[in-house]
Amino acid sequence: YALQGSRWRVKNLTYKISKYPSRLNHAEVDAELAKAFAVWSDFTDLTFTQKRSGQVHIEIRFEKGEHGDGDPFDGPGGTLAHAYFPVYGGDAHFDDAEMWSINSRRGTNLFQVAAHEFGHSLGLSHSDVRSALMAPFYRGYDPAFQLDQDDIMGIQALYGHKTQVDIGGGLPNPTVPRVTTPQPSAEDQELCSDSKFDTIFNSADGSTFVFKGDNYWKLTENGVAAGYPRPISRSWPGLPGNIDAAFTYKNGKTYFFKGSKYWRYNGQKMDGDYPKEISEGFTGIPDNIDSALVWSGNGKIYFYKGSKFWRFDPAQRPPVKSTYPKPLSNWAGIPDNIDAALQYTNGYTYFFKGGSYWRFNDRTFSVDTDNPAFPRSTGYWWLGCSSAPRGTVGGNARLSAPSDEHH
């Protein structure tokens, strides 16, 4: 993604449609444009209110040819619309010579183009990720439209994650922290006495699970949920214990790895005929991996084994470049032979080994600096083990509320 360099200082924005398209029902246009704004409010705390008159942040007009801004439209095809970045006013203009359509393969889809233009109105420039909404080319009607990870990272770089409870039909997204009703937590003796585990991952609905041996635990904001552990096989039928690694991809599917095999689940339901060979579904990735994650820095899938790592990009051919594997030491400060890794719902990436963990800083591409420093005790900060040391593992503990790492 690319940021133009300006954004709105306020998050509650207003808009008005000063000039409607000549060939569509006004009420339908209102609904489609509201949906287009909702694409962005689903992942941030931005709100958009339509007004019928008066001063607004974003003015929307459907115009033909020269329309007063020195950037004339060119008739059907070619340029479909353009919008101004916040510093230039944020307005959006659509070429009324286009055959604008709603929920139809004919013509040009108004919702998709409007969602793109409103990305500009909010401060996003064009992206070079072909699958991103903010790519400059119109891709045709997509009935299953969803924002690409690239778009989400771009808009959240400008306006932060969504923190309010989403009353509407917001899309489930494992990178969006969900305000859930706090579940009762309990200290688990097994995990608190030995906080090393096989893998940790988020499910598509944003829940976080820890796998160890044949059992699993669900994590809450403050530790592990009461009523756990439970057998893995009871919730993920067909999945064995002692899993090596797991992650949930942006398609909402969760992938589990063990030895030379992998499984794909949709939620907790096996998503087809599994297990399959890793060499078949993840060509270029070795067997017996230590861990895997979808990296918050670029939405690609990373696999770790021993002192090496691989990057897997499903959109590329081949998905693993010949330059891999690369030394894990590239991830400055992360040790070899890690046990587990995940992109947590707060957008950060974490690595776990033994009873310790590290938070990764995507910008410096190294372990984050904080007080207490990393590595920290997994038991204290993730599993709610009040008896575990809070500070740097082996360091002194500074008394404070446990596990505010989750926030």
């Binding site: 950037d71 353009h82 793109h116 400059p136």
Partner: protein
Amino acid sequence: RSGAAPAYGETNRAMMYLAQYGYLSPSVRNPSSGHIMDESTWKKAIQEFQSFAGLNSTGELDEETVKLMSLPRCGVKDKVGFGESRAKR
């Protein structure tokens, strides 16, 4: 001389396109001024567009590039703000 003057049609359309979307100086679009430009500027502009659009960066106005330039798209420039210093991670 004919080689120097921009070939009208495809090349001229491509030049207008690249200027419109931020790959060449906007002055190229000024119909009242002839515009001579050196080969490397022209080649670099095409390569940048090809790289941004996910095509092979040949620097040549090949068929695939011309085809992509004809697709319906957004009117906002591709290169603006920090997009210019887009650094691959």
